[in-house]
């Protein structure tokens, strides 16, 4: 994997990013406010604001619905097993996005959240819509995180309705692909995809996206699904880091 560069280069990258943190934070603050100001001044400012609010509301309700359904399903299964024991609770820390990747071929973030703030490698990141990614490298005051839409990202996931397992991979174009789906799967367009918790990195039940297309792989052994993520990755300003 390309992520596994030598510790020296990883140290070098983290050091440079940590040193440039104040500059990045300031310029990010300036450009964010500048672009936000221009957007608000445009003719469609009112519509955009309303749309934003409605989108947030839709996201919140969607997440609530998925959580509710997930809890309901979990409840039923656990009741059947008569072994109810666990309720998922994650402590989280808020982090701000202060920079993005410089390459057009990858998708990652720079966070103002480092080892001294409690950041650790492989911490999951979420936003109001759902899963965002995970931390791949930690500096003292900053960290780098890979987004789930990056081509190197892989997330063990499950389709909420049909309970079919698969691996969600980034397509690099803002969409996701669910691979290795059982050929007899009853999944359909519109079904929600959530994390399965099997990979050991992402906790179970985090919303990822909805299925927008289902097809059969060329080898005819598996199905695949194209997934539209819940999170709008181009507008990420703040993320929540889940403590493992």
């Amino acid at each position: 994997m390309l992520l596994n560069t030598t510790p020296f280069y990883s140290f070098l990258r983290n050091s440079v990013i940590s040193i440039s943190k104040p500059v990045l934070e300031t310029s990010h603050f300036l450009f964010f406010n500048l672009t936000d100001g221009i957007r608000r001044l445009s003719n469609y400012a009112e519509i955009a604001r309303m749309n934003e609010q409605l989108q947030l509301e839709v996201n919140r309700l969607r997440v609530d619905r998925i959580k509710y359904e997930e809890l309901q399903d979990e409840n039923i299964r656990l009741r059947r097993l008569l072994n109810f024991k666990e309720t998922l609770k994650h402590d989280h820390i808020s982090a701000q996005v202060i920079g993005r990747d410089v390459s057009s071929l990858s998708n990652w973030l720079i966070l103002n959240f480092g080892y001294s703030d409690g950041a650790r490698k492989d911490m999951s990141l979420i936003a109001p819509g759902g899963l965002v990614g995970k931390i791949i490298s930690v500096g003292n005051t900053t960290s780098r995180a890979i987004l789930i839409i990056d081509r190197q990202s892989k997330v063990s996931s499950i389709i909420q309705q049909s309970r079919d397992l698969g691996i969600v991979e980034g397509c690099g174009n803002g969409f996701l692909k669910l691979n290795y789906l059982n050929i007899n799967s009853t999944a359909k367009v519109g079904d929600a995809v959530i994390t399965s918790g099997f990979g050991g990195v992402y906790p179970k039940g985090l919303p990822i996206g909805t299925i927008s297309l289902i097809g059969t792989e060329k080898n005819g052994l598996h199905l695949f699904a194209k997934i539209k993520p819940f999170v709008d990755f181009s507008k990420l300003e703040e993320v929540l880091c889940l403590k493992n």
Binding site: F32, T35, V102, S103, S104, L105
Partner: protein, 169 residues
């Protein structure tokens, strides 16, 4: 004079880095964003000689590698290829013609993107990466060329092209 030019170059590279990391995500169109490093490098090819552009390819590539997530060194390679090829084309063309200049900027960005993509495909041993990203690098190159075409006029004022001097007598 040379010292002044070096200071200006350093300032330009630092400003490019800050803009690329912080501003560019806000001006991306449908997940397609320009690459200011490639744009700046293409502009510098128009202004400097062969050896100087190779040196600049190393410096800008190294800086880009620090802020990228690929195997260290790939960004340097992606800039070295246009640095080796394009100065010969620039010499034989009229860069004062806006259309020619735009084409050179586009080719330079495309060459850099394509070299990076090919290197990734070879290292990851997955040729399908080229198919997946080919359209994206075409769009990104076009976007980069448009941005750098506009920035050319500012750069000309900031870093003037070294003109050849002839002895008249």
């Amino acid at each position: 004079m040379l010292k002044k030019l070096k200071i200006r170059l350093v300032i330009l590279i630092i400003v490019t880095t800050i803009l690329q990391v912080t501003l560019i995500p806000y001006i991306s169109l449908h997940n397609v964003k320009p690459d200011l490093f490639y744009g700046l490098f293409a502009l510098l090819i128009l202004q400097f000689s062969n050896i100087q552009t190779i040196l600049l390819a190393f410096i800008i590539g190294f800086l880009k590698d620090l802020f990228a997530n690929n195997l260290f060194g790939l960004e340097i390679i992606s800039l070295l290829i246009p640095a080796l090829i394009l100065p010969f084309i620039v010499k034989k063309t009229d860069i004062n013609n806006p259309l020619v200049r735009f084409i050179i900027l586009f080719i330079s960005s495309l060459l850099a993107f394509f070299t990076l993509l090919t290197s990734i495909a070879v290292i990851e041993k997955s040729p399908e990466v080229i198919n997946i990203y080919f359209m994206k690098i075409l769009e990104s190159s076009l976007y980069t060329a448009i941005i750098s075409f506009v920035l050319y006029y500012f750069l000309k004022l900031f870093i003037p092209k070294k003109t050849e001097q002839y002895e008249l007598f």
